[in-house]
Every structure is written in C-alpha cells, then in structure tokens.
C-alpha cells in the first residue's frame, strides 16, 4: 500500500486554484467579444470559420490523443476509457487555439483551408512537440503563416492591412491605409482614427477589425491577472514610436524627414498588432519567464514588427510572433531569473583611491593622482 497523503511533485510546490483550464476559460471569455464583433461585421461567413476552426482543433487533438493512447488497439476495446481520459485532461487550449486562429483570418478564406490550418496548428505545431505547454511557437500564428504561404496570397495579405502599398494591385477590397507609409503615388486620404478603432468601413481580419472588443478582452485579462497589464501596453507603445519613426522616411522624397505623431494611433490601430499584443504575445508557453527577458522580448518584437512592416508593406505580426518565439529559449538562457528568495549580494564598493588613502598606504601622492585620473575619465 502506498501512502496517498504524500504528494510527490517537482518544484515549484505552489498550490492554487488556478489551473490551465480556468486560465484558458478566461482567455475564451476575453476572446468572445472579438468573435461576436467578427460575426456582426462579416456575417455568417465569420461564424462558419470560427466554428470550423474550433471544432477542427478540438477534433484533431482528440484524434491525436486517441491514437497515441492506443484507442484503436484491441479492436477499440479501450475506446471508452481513452475517451474518458481525454475528457479528464482536456484543458480548453485547443479551443483557444482554434478561436484565435479563426479571428486572425480574413473572412474570405475557404472553410477547407481553415480545416487544414487548424489541423496543422494542433497536430504539427502543438502535439508533435509534446502537447500543451511544450510547443515551441504559438500554434495559431504558425498556422496563419502556414496558410498565408500555402494558399492564394490575395486573401491573406489583404485583409490584415489592406493596401499598405498603393502600387501593388495584389490586394482585394482595398482601403486606403497606404498613407501610413507616405511615398510618391500613395493616396493621401486618411481614414479617421475612430473608424479604425470601431472597425467601421475598414476591411480586416475577423477578430482584428473592431479594436474596442480587443480592448475589452485586454481589460478582462488584466483584471483577472491572466496577463500582466504592462506587457501589451509596452509592446504597443514601442511599436507605435518605431512605426512612426520608420514611416517618416517616406517623406524624404517629398522633402525632408518628418516624425509625424499623427500617424501613431492609426499605426497601432491597423492590422493585427493590437490583437497579437493582447492575445498572442503574452502566451505563457512561448514567452520568456523573467521580467527583464520579457521587456527585451517585447521591445525587440515591437521594433521588428514596425521595421518589417515598413520594409515589406505586408502584415507581419504573426511572422514576428513565430520568430520571437523561437528566440525565447535563448532569452531565458541569457536573462537569468532571480531564484525565489534570493537576495542579491551587494557589490562591495570599489575602493576609491584618494590621496588620503594613498597616504595611508604610504604611496606617494603623485602616483595616486595619476591612478585616479583615468578613473574619473571612465566616469
């Protein structure tokens, strides 16, 4: 008989009521406003995409689990038990992945493309690497990148930031966001910031169009302490400044560099930056653990998004998410976290060599001055 009163587990030995399931439930609740706004803006198509993505993700996870746990062995004798075990361990992560994936897709995407993308996200990006908590990159953004590369480009590039560049005709249903990157030939009409904020009259991805709902999700997640409130804010602020900085180069052709702060809000309200900052970047599994590491992670990601957007004129948020996710192990390695309860040993102050101390040490004052001089220069 084993003694059941002793639980053996690996550290940290923290007990709390918070489980993966409750956290994921919070995320789902935070995503609901976006999902509903998507259905309001894009109609039944958006609903079909959301439903297909979520169902496909859950089904893929189930099938993978079923096969891995030998549900088919012995002529499906254990099928019932395997199903029960799956229900017990099911933690809503695949629902979140499916929902996020649906929300970062344009409404024009075909349902079978969503199906393939969802299967890719769960089977290849998540389960092959070991399931929940072990994936290297964010499954939803990886699936979006996979779909953008695989299927007709026009439906993908377009919707996130339509017509970032006026000249290229590859965008369908274009709106005039090209003025974010002023250059010759780009239109100068401005979309009002309010329109961008509410998502009225702007084409975009299902969940990224209406920024109000994203903000609601952000506030909910922050209040429930699921994400740290400063992380998305920092990311967006740095991104905004960097984007304004880069788009300033576009003015050079028409006379001089301008740091136009008027572009700040439109930049952060266009495309998937806001959505990514709230729902995808702070993903526990794929972001660094320590605070300094996180600051570094968000700063580099923000600058990368701004720079790549300026250079490629495409929506790059999901690409950058994958890219930065891959750097997380490296960041965790070099930004060493303070172990719990560890007090930083104070560095002994470097002894200043003053004439007095020098005198005490019976060293000639001339030498002391000579050695103190470079010290001052160093400061």
């Amino acid at each position: 008989m084993t003694d059941n009163s002793v639980v053996v587990s690996t550290p940290p030995h923290v007990k709390s009521r918070r489980t993966t399931r409750s956290v994921m439930l919070d995320v789902i609740i935070a995503l609901l406003p976006c999902a509903i706004a998507g259905i309001v803006f894009f109609g039944w198509r958006a609903f079909v995409i959301e439903a297909v993505a979520v169902l496909a993700c859950v089904a893929t996870e189930f099938v993978y689990f079923f096969i891995l746990n030998k549900g088919f062995a012995k002529k499906c004798k254990d099928a019932g038990a395997v199903c029960k075990r799956w229900l017990k361990q099911f933690d809503f992560t695949s629902i979140v992945t499916g929902l996020i994936l649906a929300l970062i897709l344009p409404s024009t995407v075909a349902w079978y493309e969503v199906l393939i993308g969802s299967m890719f996200a769960i089977a290849i990006v998540k389960m092959l690497f070991g399931g929940t908590g072990k994936n290297l990159v964010n499954p939803a953004s990886a699936a979006r990148v996979f779909m953008a590369i695989s299927f007709a480009i026009s439906t993908y590039v377009a919707a996130n930031i339509p017509a970032l560049r006026f000249e290229s005709g590859i965008f369908t249903d274009a709106t005039n966001l090209a003025w974010l990157f002023p250059s010759e030939g780009n239109p100068t009409t401005k979309i009002s910031v309010l329109d961008l904020f509410l998502g009225t009259g702007v084409a975009g991805c299902i969940g990224e169009t209406c920024k109000v709902t994203i903000l609601i999700g952000y506030i909910y997640l922050s209040v429930r302490n699921v994400i740290k409130w400063w992380q998305p804010l920092m990311f967006i602020a740095i991104f905004g400044f960097a984007a304004v900085f880069f788009s300033g180069f576009g003015f050079i052709a028409t006379g001089g560099y301008i740091f136009d702060m008027e572009l700040f809000l439109p930049h952060i309200f266009s495309g998937g930056v806001l959505f990514g900052a709230v729902f995808m970047f702070p993903d526990y599994v794929t972001s660094p653990k320590g605070v300094y590491g996180q600051i570094f992670y968000y700063a580099v990601a923000a600058i990368l998004v701004a720079a790549l957007r300026y250079l490629t004129k495409l929506e790059v948020t999901s690409f950058v998410i994958i890219l930065m996710n891959l750097f997380v192990p490296l960041i965790d390695k070099y930004f060493i976290r303070r172990p719990y309860g560890y007090v930083k040993a104070k560095k002994p102050k470097a002894e200043k060599i003053t004439p007095e101390s020098a005198a005490e040490n019976l060293i000639e004052p001339v030498d002391a001055n000579a050695s103190a001089a470079p010290d001052k220069e160093g400061k």
Binding site: Y112, I124, F146, I149, S150, F151
Partner: protein, 217 residues
C-alpha cells in the same frame, strides 16, 4: 549469397541513407518539391556512387591511407563532373532542374561516407552492390517524398497537373523539411513494427524448439 542480401537490405532499409542515417539532406530538402527532379537526383547519385565505390575499392590497396580522403574527393569530383557533362549533353531538362545541386554531389556525405565506411574495406563486387543498394535507397526515399510534396504542394505528379487544390508551403524547402521529418517518423515506425513482429516470431520459434528438445530428452 547471404552477404549480398545483407548489403542490399542494409542499403535499402536498415541503413537507408535518407531515412535512417539522415545523410545528404541538402539535395533532399532542395529538390523534393518536384518528383521528377528528385528522382533524377537519386539516379544520378546512384550512378556516381556505384562508380566511385567500384573505383575506390579497386584502388584500395594502392592508395596510402594518409592521403585517402584527397584521393576519394578527386575521384568523386571527376565522376560528378563527368555526370554533369553527360546530363547537359543528353538530358538538358534534368540538368536544368537540378541546377546547382548537381555539382554539390561532390560533397554529398552519402558518397564519401560509403567510400570511407565500405568501399575501402571490401572487394569490388561487394562495393558495387553496396553502391547500387544505397543509391536505390536514396532514390526511392527521394522519389517517395518528391511525389508527396509535389502532389500536395503543386497538385501535380511528375509535372502533370492533377488537381487545382494545393498547399503551397509543401513545395518550398520549409515544407519539404516537415514532410521529411514526418516521413522519417513513419518509416521508423514501420521498421520498428516489423522488427518487433520478427522478434516475437523468432522467440516463439525458439521456445518451441526448446520444448521439442526437452520432450525429446
């Protein structure tokens, strides 16, 4: 005869250069987006590998071991250059589709690996058999993956368009990497299953033999 059977099985399956030893990944990832070019690559390697194995094994007593690697490289480079000339003259389509990967056969680790691991220790006939087996293993592996990648990534088979639907990423080297990994997984799974089945069967046989022996005693 058993020796040749072992060489063949090793080259084709148990030490398949692509799936088991993961050698020659550069041309694999670069070329399996098209079934035609991957098969052409495989066959070219087959020819070069067989010839180099034969030559090296024939010269194995002559070449001092201190300079064997430079000698091998010179021989392989000569054969590859010859293969390039031959392809450019007689099969220009294949030559175009292989592009830079053709010259890279020189540093393909399969060929140097077989020279170092097999040809300089064995006779000419065995080496030739080994070259053919390994080359065939490489060709078959590349062709299988080429078919998968081309069918899913371009919707065509050996250049003939079959369906409109395609997953474009599988026609890129990144997608090829995914397919490669999955193919290795499936291959190893099948081989493992086969081995297990064989072991169970052998154990059963041994037990029966033991029992029979006991009864006889």
């Amino acid at each position: 005869m058993n020796k040749y059977k072992k060489i063949t099985l090793d080259g084709l399956i148990y030490q398949n250069p692509t799936f088991m030893l993961v050698l020659g990944t550069c041309p694999t990832l670069g070329l399996i987006s098209s079934a035609f070019s991957s098969m052409g690559m495989g066959l070219t390697v087959l020819v070069v590998l067989t010839l180099s194995n034969i030559i090296i094994s024939a010269l194995r007593k002559v070449i001092p071991s201190a300079v064997r690697i430079p000698c091998y490289i010179v021989i392989i480079a000569t054969l590859v250059t010859f293969a390039r000339m031959f392809l450019e003259k007689f099969l220009p389509d294949l030559y175009d589709s292989l592009g830079g990967f053709l010259a890279l056969i020189v540093v393909n680790c399969i060929i140097l690996g077989r020279a170092e691991a097999f040809a300089n220790k064995n006779g000419v006939l065995e080496s030739a058999a080994d070259g053919i087996a390994n080359g065939l293993g490489f060709t078959v592996a590349l062709t299988i993956m080429g078919v998968i990648c081309e069918f899913l990534g371009k919707g065509s088979l050996f250049g003939a368009q079959i369906m409109e639907f395609k997953i474009g990423m599988l026609a890129t080297p990144a997608g090829a990497f995914l397919v490669y990994g999955l193919c290795i997984a499936v291959f190893v799974y099948i081989i493992d299953g086969f081995e297990r089945w064989r072991r169970v069967k052998a154990n059963k046989l041994a037990r029966e033999n033991l029992l029979n022996a006991k009864e006889a005693a």
